[in-house]
């Protein structure tokens, strides 16, 4: 039998920290001023669209590439498998801070700064490292006999991937998609470095500039914050199981 006192204490402790976690969010929601004004003032229609384009592209590109690479790592045997996988794992720990400087100068040389490419390609690359790691784990969990049955049925590796194996991985793919979506949408440093054109700002970048112009009007700032944070939070509220499961499986990306 558990102590009544312990029960109460446990609930109190959990409750307090839950409130602390929630309080700033509540503050945003309650303190939000005119969404319409913030929307226009902060040019959020543009920045949200940019964010959407970049995010969807990154999710699609890294998603497909991760499925392909994860399939190879998970279900095929080839020379150099170990080494290549370690490289991917290494890539999971490489921070944006370490590569953003050379990326900027090289992309500037190539005339690609201030383009969607500058925002999409590096993030897709980093997300593919995570995605490959993630999908490999899923593919390894597929029973070997299923693959062999398909092989005996005359299925090519391509057919087996899309028709036999991947349909089993909907939850895994969904988790990968939501995590990459979150990380890409929330990315700030890359956008700050690569983009100087106002019309190409992503939502977080737009918010930062918005804040710079409106340090006094709290209501407006809160509204802007709400606009930028909302998409990810809404997806999170519907799919939090996937978010949490993904992060729990030792996702080693920030």
């Amino acid at each position: 039998m558990i102590d009544r006192r312990e029960q109460v204490l446990a609930h109190v402790v959990l409750g307090v920290f839950a409130l602390i976690a929630l309080a700033p969010v509540v503050r945003i929601v309650l303190g939000t001023g005119s969404l319409a004004t913030a929307w226009d003032d902060g040019n959020f229609s543009t920045s949200l669209r940019t964010s959407a384009i970049v995010t969807v592209s990154v999710v699609l590109v890294s998603g497909v590439l991760s499925i392909l690479a994860g399939y190879a790592f998970g279900l095929m045997r080839f020379r150099g498998e170990q080494v290549l996988f370690y490289v991917i794992v290494l890539g999971l720990t490489i921070p944006m801070e370490a590569i953003v400087v050379p990326l900027y100068y090289d992309l500037r040389e190539a005339g690609l700064t201030d383009t969607y490419w500058a925002l999409i390609l590096p993030q897709a690359a980093l997300s593919t490292a995570f995605g490959t790691f993630w999908m490999r784990a899923f593919f390894r969990s597929v029973p070997r006999s299923l693959i062999e049955a398909a092989r005996l049925d005359g299925s090519s590796s391509w057919m087996t991937l899309w028709r036999v194996v991947l349909p089993l991985g909907r939850p895994a793919v969904l988790t990968m998609v939501v995590l990459v979506f979150m990380w890409t949408w929330n990315e700030f440093l890359l956008a700050l470095v690569m983009v100087s054109d106002e019309s190409l700002r992503t939502a977080p970048l737009g918010l930062a500039f918005f804040q710079g112009r409106n340090t006094s009007d709290e209501g407006l700032l809160m509204a802007g914050a709400l606009i930028v944070a909302a998409p990810v939070v809404v997806v999170y509220l519907f799919l939090q199981r996937h978010f949490i499961r993904g992060m729990l499986s030792g996702a080693v990306k920030g």
């Binding site: 839950a18 690479a69 801070e97 390609l121 929330n186 470095v193 939070v233």
Partner: protein, 276 residues
Amino acid sequence: MTRPPGEPRRVAYLYLLPGLALFGAFVLYPLARAGWISLFEWDGVTRGTWVGADNYAALAEDADLRRAFLHSAVLLVFYAALPVAIGLVLAGAASRTRVRGLAALRTILFLPQVIALVVVALTWRLIYQPTGWLGDFDLALPAVGLIGTWVAYGLCFVLFLAGVQKVPLSLYDAARVDGAGALREFFAVTLPALKGEIAVALTLCTIAALRNFDIVYLTTAGGPGDATSVPALEVYERAFETGEVGLAAAIGVCLAAIIFALSFAINRTAERAART
């Protein structure tokens, strides 16, 4: 060992090629470039001059850079140690009592992890405004640290909760029968069972601590003065504001190396501990 006929062999490389090519071009190559650039003194515009390892020497000699790394070490306490501790307490509390609405609790506590750091920074700036801590030379760093704590403890809680739920109830019952109180139970049963999860949590939090550009840039920008300078910020400033691109690259490489070393060390220790 020979491979059975018809098993995909070389075709594996075709599947790998697009992903590896992208990764190589936009992560590995830039990392190598950073290493190369770090051997030069360069303003980003004119030709650079070769300085070899001087930039790296500066990391140890330059007082400002040393201070930035020192701040990072301090922030590790706030970004990693504290959230792990809080997470353990919360998981411990949730494990022994039947908590109503545990699912909702998880959702709420994990929320700070999904909010864009820009928004987090903005919000906390407003929260701190009446206190003036972010402008205080002594309090600014802890204040920034606490933001990191706030972001991270939910992740730790969720991680540890999952780990705790795997512990067979019989272990707790045995401890109880032996006369252990809640505290003893925690140290004797809960903590040892969570070694793996603690390693993961520490790794994730450490990486977040060293990557904290977003929060610092948008709350204090390193200020007041140098009170909250951090390596991530130094990378940005020196690359794009003071024209010390080579040095910035060196700092970036150093950050990557530290992250890698720390992840490796944490996981090594966890593996060794798991074997005991």
